[in-house]
């Protein structure tokens, strides 16, 4: 170990130069980072629901459907209708838009004495203007299920302008144009945007805002805490610098590897800032301590001691992050795992190689060293926190143990109250336009979660169309479904007009001839494939809770199992189904990644400490704090979602470091022949101090996420901070007490 330390000092200039070159190269890659916030694209292809959903999205433009919501006191006025027409025309003009459907251009089939009229609901060149014309239009609109609740709300105060994107469209660019162009019309009505393309775009905007806003705050806050702790420029600059370099390396590799910034990976910089600075804090702290004792070979002595704990801390943290690679459902969480573990490795390497190299070329003056010695002795933390703490722990170990036991017991009660949320509208703060839009969709248009029932077969065959109608009727009986739409509706409607019977024709010939009128209608592209061998029922699911989604999935699966045949294959997919899988995967990936992490952490720590028991002792504080974390989530109602599901494993990975430092320090002194009290005192006074600084800076870094625009990230920050505080407390109280009790007992047995 000493040889390695001497090598580091020998090649210090080369190390600094190499680090700077790598940073410059990877830094240049940063401009290539792309943001992608589309949850659908992150769904794994192995999941049949997700794969089918992706297929529908590309083939029928299903998921690429966006909506502009226009709300006004009364939609049926000439002015509002004109504005709807303006929006429809404006959006249709945008490149990448495949079709636009609104009140002013939607298909309509009328019958009367004159015969049949296949045309548009409103003649855009002769818009209704007189009260009589408007009343007639209103009556017509409300007489048809096709319009009511689908394109206009029941109360006549909100209407949709639906648009689909072409297959090769750049979703974000098109969505931004739609927003820009619509807003440029400066219409007096309230305009909102909904649907997958618009939501993905607004999430991307939030990610970008968050990155620009939060990272600097985080840097400033952590610097401030570091300054208050070390009171030297070096104590602030080095941890922040190593963290910044690790961030640049990680994000540079992210760009090089072609990963896109997701709504999970956008917090990588903040995590690395918190984690990355920690290793340097320990290295500097140790060097400071050595400096207080002697003047010779300070850095080498410090490195010899700190090398293993920092490396072990990094390995365990990486284990926490890597557990996502194996346990996660969403691709973006897996990528997050890969990148954060790489970043952690970089941080550790930098703090062990780069930091000593920098310190060795910039040695502090004699005055600074004297100051440091004084500070070590008389610091606020040592005098007011650590000294009383070590006395209390030594004298009353059982009180401490009991307090922890009580806390854990209370928390276990909360665990059973944890809720889960996979609703995308929950990601936005209240008052956010996207959330308002989602609420309007739920309250006035029967939900925003699309459901697609796919029929494969001859869509001109009466049996297939009849089965479609039957499916629709069955679906509408479910409380979560208010309306359904399909090509069968139009065939039925035309048959009513032409054939005089309100049903799907029994003869194939009739259907074939009715197609003559539908061929080429743009509106049809949403419902059938060009070859008429695939058709979909479009619907929306309105109930937000998971139980209803599960019940609906079961309800539909039963029907499909009974009705799907070779000649008429029925499949169903949609967001409620993905939600159910995602929900199930939340629990699975929570348990999966957490147990992988615990297993490997115990193994790693046990291996290095030379005893599995020690591995278990080391994990006790962090496991306790995770139990408290889950209890806190249960009592406060913070749900498990795609971001908070990461907290436990991240907390485990970061929090275990505190225990590792305490254990290694305690063992180091104890083995050297110190007694339990001396070992406890030294451990708390030196490593304890570093841990407190570390907990404060990491928590502060994560608490910055409270200012995030995304609700899951807010919770993520809060929860990590809480688990950091508790795992810090655990390693400063629970772990020392266990060590004191175990070693006393051993000593007792030995003497006996």
């Amino acid at each position: 170990m000493e040889r390695t330390a001497r090598h580091i000092l020998k090649f210090r200039w080369s190390i600094i130069i190499v680090v700077l070159i790598i940073t410059a190269i990877l830094g240049l890659q940063l401009k290539n980072i792309r943001i992608n916030s589309d949850v659908i694209s992150s769904l794994p292809d192995e999941d049949p629901d997700a794969a089918l959903l992706k297929e529908v999205a590309t083939e029928l433009g299903g998921n690429n459907m966006g909506m502009i919501i226009l709300t006004a006191e009364d939609i049926f006025t000439p002015v509002v209708l004109e504005h709807i027409r303006q929006i429809s025309d404006t959006v249709a003009e945008i490149e990448g838009i495949r079709s636009v459907t609104s009140l002013t251009n939607i298909i309509d089939i009328k019958s009367g004495e004159f015969g049949i009229e296949v045309g548009k609901l409103i003649d855009e060149y002769n818009m209704p203007e007189t009260p009589a014309e408007l009343a007639e239009l209103k009556e017509r609109v409300y007489s048809k299920e096709m319009y009511r609740g689908n394109i206009i709300s029941e109360d006549g105060t909100a209407t949709l302008i639906l648009f689909t994107l072409s297959e090769d469209a750049q979703i974000r660019a098109v969505a931004e144009r739609v927003k820009e162009k619509t807003e440029a019309l400066n219409l007096p009505e309230n305009i909102y945007f909904a649907g997958s393309p618009m939501m993905v775009t607004s999430i991307s905007e939030l990610i970008a805002t968050d990155l620009v806003k939060l990272i600097p705050i985080s840097f400033v806050l952590i610097s401030l805490i570091l300054f208050l702790s070390f009171r030297t420029f070096r104590g602030v600059a080095l941890p922040v610098l190593t963290a910044a370099i690790a961030i640049v390396w990680t994000m540079g590799i992210m760009a090089l590897a072609g990963y896109e910034m997701s709504m999970i990976s956008n917090n990588i910089p903040i995590i690395l800032l918190a984690v990355g600075s920690a290793y340097t804090i320990h290295v500097i702290n140790r060097i400071n301590q050595e400096r207080a004792r002697s003047t010779k070979d300070v850095i080498i002595k410090a490195l010899v001691y700190i090398f293993i704990p920092v490396l072990l801390a990094a390995l365990t943290t990486m284990t926490g992050f890597m557990s996502f690679i194996f346990g996660a459902y969403l691709d973006m969480i897996r990528e997050f795992g890969v990148l954060t573990s790489a970043g952690t490795l970089f941080s550790a390497i930098l703090s062990l190689i780069f930091v000593p190299a920098v310190i060795s070329i910039l040695p502090p003056g004699q005055k600074a060293i004297e100051k440091q010695k004084l500070r070590n002795k008389k610091s606020f933390l040592s005098a007011n926190v650590l000294v009383p703490l070590k006395i209390f722990l030594y004298v009353h170990p059982k009180y401490t143990l009991f307090t922890w036991f009580a806390l854990i017991l209370i928390s276990v009660g909360g665990i059973f109250m944890i809720t889960r949320s996979v609703n995308i509208q929950d990601y936005f703060r209240r008052g956010n336009p996207t959330r308002i839009a989602e609420d309007i969709m739920v309250n006035k248009f029967g939900g925003s979660k699309p459901v697609f029932v796919i029929f494969e077969g001859d869509l001109q065959h009466p049996k297939v169309l009849q089965k479609m109608r039957e499916t629709q009727e069955y679906m509408e009986k479910n409380p979560g479904i208010s309306t359904t739409q399909s090509v069968a509706d139009l065939i039925l409607e035309m048959n009513t007009v032409l054939g005089g019977e309100a049903k799907i024709p029994d003869e194939k010939a009739k259907i074939g001839q009715l197609w003559f009128l539908l061929d080429g209608q743009e509106y049809m592209e949403r419902f059938v494939s060009p070859d008429l061998d695939k058709g979909i029922i479009l619907s929306k699911f309105s109930l937000p809770d998971n139980q209803s989604k599960k019940a609906f999935a079961e309800y539909m699966r039963r029907f499909i199992a009974e009705n799907s045949t070779e000649s008429c294959k029925i499949q169903i997919t949609g967001m409620p189904f993905v939600d159910v899988t995602m929900d199930r995967s939340l629990i699975r990936s929570q348990f999966g990644s957490l147990s992988i992490a615990v297993f490997f952490v115990v193994l790693l720590v046990g291996l290095i400490m030379g005893s599995l028991l020690k591995g278990i002792y080391a994990t006790l504080p962090i496991i306790s704090s995770i139990v408290i974390l889950f209890g806190f989530m249960g009592y406060t109602g913070i749900p498990l979602n795609i971001a908070t599901v990461l907290v436990a494993s991240v907390a485990l990975g970061i929090g275990i470091d505190y225990s590792i430092h305490i254990m290694s320090h305690f063992n180091h002194i104890y083995k050297k022949g110190g007694d339990v009290y001396r070992s406890l005192r030294d451990t708390l006074m030196i490593s304890g101090k570093a841990i407190i600084i570390n907990v404060l800076s990491v928590s502060a870094g994560f608490l910055v996420l409270l200012f995030s625009e995304m609700v899951p990230l807010k919770y993520f920050g809060l929860l990590i901070a809480i688990s950091m505080i508790f795992s810090g407390l655990g390693s400063l109280t629970l772990l020392p007490v266990i060590l004191v009790l175990v070693n006393r007992k051993q000593k007792f047995t030995r003497t006996k």
Binding site: Y125, L498, G512, F516, L517, P530
Partner: protein, 247 residues
């Protein structure tokens, strides 16, 4: 001096009026085009419609067309099989009848929106129902090239879905080579290209391809076995005649 003034005056007058002597008025060109396109008394042809969408999938429809004058038009579809026997009859006054054999008697169809596609093609009802370009549009001559006159046609009716058409008219025979359709915002929306043939006294569009630039979709109409002026009786264009004759 007088001589000079006289000759200068003559020269000036020549400059003023000579182009008028040779160049044609846009209205005149368009009337000639109308005459080429619409001067037959009646016409019968086999029509093939090839619909191509962006995924290069083709749909083929076939029909027999009977036309008398510019306002009476009967299409009787023969392909695809599921649509065989369907007939559409257009009569003066934007009246259209539809006959679908499986549903019995013909029904009158009203066309609310002229911009709507004509039975699934890229031609809108407006494109298909032109009876006279000179009657429906106000022309301006934009340019004269070696082979063609380029005319700008502005619709007279406010109900048109186009803001203008740009038509290239063959200099020798006055049939259109190409028509570009501009939407209300002035963007080019569709393009029609023509291949003309002559049979007897008449030129006819043997092939027209209409490309919808926005939808990336095209329809080609091919006319074969064209017979002009065979004296098709008026009775052919009655609702009763849309149905097959009872045996």
């Amino acid at each position: 001096m007088k001589m000079f003034i006289k000759s200068a005056g003559f020269f000036f007058a020549c400059c003023m009026f000579l182009p008028g002597l040779f160049a044609q008025d846009a209205g005149e060109i368009l009337q000639k085009t109308d005459r080429v396109l619409f001067s037959f008394k009646d016409k019968q042809a086999n029509v093939e419609m090839i619909l191509e969408n962006r995924r290069d999938k083709e749909k083929i429809r076939e029909a027999v067309l009977m036309q008398k004058g510019t306002e009476k038009r009967l299409y009787r579809y023969t392909k695809p099989e599921s649509q065989a026997g369907i007939a559409t009859l257009s009569l003066p006054g934007d009246i259209m009848w539809l006959y679908m054999p499986a549903f019995g008697r013909p029904k009158k169809i009203s066309l609310l929106a002229k911009s709507q596609a004509f039975t699934g093609t890229d031609f809108s009802h407006e494109d298909m129902s032109v009876r006279s370009y000179a009657g429906d549009y106000t022309p301006t001559l934009l340019e004269t090239t070696g082979e063609a006159y380029i005319l700008k046609l502005v619709p007279k009716s406010g109900k048109s879905s186009y803001s203008k058409l740009v038509m290239q008219v063959d200099k020798d025979h006055y049939y259109p080579h190409r028509i570009e359709y501009y939407d209300k915002r002035g963007n080019k929306e569709k393009t029609a290209t023509y291949v003309f043939r002559k049979t007897g006294d008449y030129w006819y569009a043997r092939e027209v391809t209409m490309t919808d630039l926005k939808k990336d979709h095209a329809t080609t109409i091919i006319m074969t076995d064209v017979i002009f002026d065979q004296g098709i009786p008026d009775e052919t264009f009655t609702v009763e005649k849309m149905m097959p004759e009872e045996e």
